[in-house]
């Protein structure tokens, strides 16, 4: 891949670099065992409506990993809310630990070494939270600090990152673990309307975990310092993305224009976070952007003036996994790390958008 980014930026050279800070040291991901093409999902639901079929085909998604129930006599069985909640928890406790193990393995850490556990999910309501279930299942310490972030949607990985980096900064040397686990297929409602079809065509299941620690011995090669955060909330669009109740089930609603509304607002937090550090967009080496859907990806790319190259992981994760909700940016982050293109001093911006309507950004420094 040809480097088209700036070779020398005086602003990047002048950036104040902290001697140490909370670094993302490792990332792990996991998906359900079964992968579906869009055609297979349409066939699964026996979907014949040409508008819905065309929606699936134009989603820019090839495959998704899903926990779909086994059909009985070739028909999809209507599931109760209880069954969906169980599927969420069962799925989370299958792929959540896999993502955590993949994340801890390269560091030689075990769940027992974790000092702070933050779990993020939106696709199933549960009490006690996933963190408590994981502690029992994976043998974390009985005195591990924990937080569960429930219901913040696709942007919540950044909110979780705020929690684990704050912990890491306040407790140098201690290890914080963030898990984002979303079983979106447990929040599907199939009622043949376009509103639910949009959701059913878009979201996929997956889990992603990162370890964050502040330690003077770590360098850029271990991972980036999370330097800063900048949120942006659009209160007028409070209801643009939300759960509604369909009978007894939660049904996710996405307003038609919200991708473009996010696009029209995205430069606000980005300009603020970059301005605070004397940077401009063209100084940014790596963009880690939520794979929310084809429209919002176009809108963010256009409104920030980014290139297809900048968006390659965002587009690739959407194509291969669908919208993974909160875990999405961590999947993109993993792809970026795997490319081995990152150099010392590189600067990255993470953007995730979700209900609120909110746009959460973070600044990463290698």
């Amino acid at each position: 891949m040809i480097e088209t980014r700036r070779i020398v930026s005086p602003r990047k050279a002048a950036l104040r670099r902290p001697a140490q800070g909370p670094r993302i040291l490792s990332v792990g991901t996991a998906t359900p065992p079964r992968k579906y093409t869009q055609e297979e999902v349409l066939a699964f639901f026996h979907e014949a409506d040409p508008r819905i079929r065309s929606l699936f085909r134009s989603s820019h998604i090839n495959t998704r990993y899903l926990y779909l129930p086994d059909p009985v006599d070739g028909r999809v069985v209507e599931e109760t809310n209880e069954e969906l909640l169980n599927r969420h928890l069962d799925g989370a406790l299958e792929i959540g630990p896999q993502a955590i193990e993949e994340c801890l393995r390269p560091l030689g850490l075990a769940p027992y070494d974790i000092d702070f556990l933050c779990c993020v999910t939106t696709t199933g309501f549960l009490c006690p939270g996933i963190s408590a279930h994981l502690i029992k299942k994976m043998i974390f310490r009985e005195n591990v600090q924990r937080s569960d972030i429930l219901g913040m949607g696709c942007n919540a990985a950044v909110n979780g990152l705020q929690a684990v980096t704050a912990f890491a900064r306040a407790n140098p040397g201690k290890v914080a673990l963030l898990l984002c686990v979303e079983i979106c297929s447990a929040a599907y409602v199939h009622n043949r309307s376009m509103v639910t079809a949009v959701v059913n065509s878009l979201f996929g299941d997956g889990a992603a975990a990162v370890v964050v620690r502040q330690d003077a011995a770590d360098t850029w090669q271990q991972g980036p310092i999370v330097l800063d955060f900048e949120p942006h909330i659009i209160p007028e669009a409070l209801l643009a993305m939300r759960y509604t109740i369909d009978g007894t089930k939660l049904s996710f609603f996405l307003a038609r224009d919200i991708p473009y509304e996010i696009g029209a607002n995205v430069e606000k937090p980005v300009n603020r976070i970059l301005g605070r550090h004397g940077l401009k967009r063209k100084d940014i080496d790596h963009w880690i952007i939520h794979s929310g859907g084809a429209k919002v990806i176009d809108a963010v790319e256009y409104n920030l003036g980014l290139t297809d190259h900048d968006m390659r992981h965002t587009v690739g994760i959407l194509r291969n996994f669908g919208n993974l909700s909160s875990g999405s940016i961590l999947f993109s982050f993993k792809e970026l790390c795997r490319e081995e293109v990152i150099g010392e001093g590189d600067v990255g911006v993470t953007i995730a958008m979700g209900p609120g309507t909110s746009i959460e950004t973070a600044l990463l420094l290698w």
Partner: protein, 269 residues
């Protein structure tokens, strides 16, 4: 404005003019000039009081092209300087202000490419354009990428592969230039060209230009997605708010006019 070694920069109102200024070497493009242009473009990008950037040369030469004195004589030459040049051209092409190339005299190689990166291109009748690189044994930068989009592959091959000189009138007829004028009316024509670009709506400019740059490069479906995202932003901008409000006022005024006229007509009868 910052002072540069290789540029003379002036500002009048919201128009900044940068003159390529290396008189001893016919404005040859060296690394210093690339860095100066890059710095200037960066400053213009931030400037709230600028709407147009005009690039000019001297009265008899825009530039004679790349300065070969820049290259090491007896060692392996690296590509980074040329990459920096391409980066600068791209930043010019995507600047958040209008860009104008105003060419007098010789415009060779890199100068031709600078011109292709601008939004509008004006030249004096005596101006002559050419890409001599292939004739000399190297490549005319990413101009090969840009030129074919302006004039089609056949003509681009004819210009780049033969290195032949193109006169201003011919460049005008092919659409490389938007306007050709005589020496005496050059400044006047330039002013008209600048005024034709205004008023300046930065969002609309950036989006429209980016979509145009994509027009030969992407599928209809992808382009449509980009267009809708861009247009959403435009129709929710302050400029569009004003447009809609003004249309509503006109509608009201003409309605009032109609009812007024109707009453007068009734009275006359």
């Amino acid at each position: 404005m910052h002072a540069y070694d290789t540029l003379r920069v002036t500002q009048e109102g919201n128009v900044v003019t940068a003159f390529l200024a290396r008189p001893d070497s016919r404005n040859a493009i060296n690394m210093r000039m690339v860095n100066d242009l890059s710095h200037l473009i960066d400053a213009i990008d931030d400037a709230k009081d600028v709407a147009v950037l005009v690039l000019r040369g001297s009265p008899d030469v825009f530039t004679c092209g790349i300065d070969l004195h820049e290259f090491a004589a007896h060692e392996k030459r690296n590509i980074y300087g040329l990459q920096k040049w391409e980066q600068m051209c791209r930043e010019l092409e995507r600047l958040n202000k209008f860009t104008v190339a105003a060419v007098q005299g010789e415009c060779t190689g890199g100068g031709f490419q600078l011109m292709l990166s601008c939004d509008t291109r004006l030249a004096e009748r005596r101006a002559v354009f050419c890409f001599h690189e292939v004739k000399l044994g190297f490549l005319p930068g990413m101009a090969s990428f840009r030129l074919a989009k302006y004039i089609g592959l056949g003509r681009a091959k004819s210009i780049i592969l033969t290195g032949r000189r193109v006169r201003a009138e011919e460049a005008l007829s092919w659409g490389i230039l938007d306007r050709v004028c005589d020496q005496v009316s050059f400044d006047e024509a330039l002013m008209e060209t600048v005024n034709d670009l205004l008023p300046f709506h930065p969002v609309a400019l950036e989006m429209a230009r980016r979509l145009l740059d994509e027009s030969y490069a992407t599928s209809y479906e992808n382009y449509l997605g980009h267009f809708l995202a861009a247009q959403y932003r435009a129709i929710n901008s302050e400029a569009f708010d004003r447009l809609v409000a003004s249309a509503a006022r006109q509608e009201k005024a003409s309605e009032a006019g109609r009812t007024g006229a109707g009453r007068r007509k009734a009275r006359e009868e």
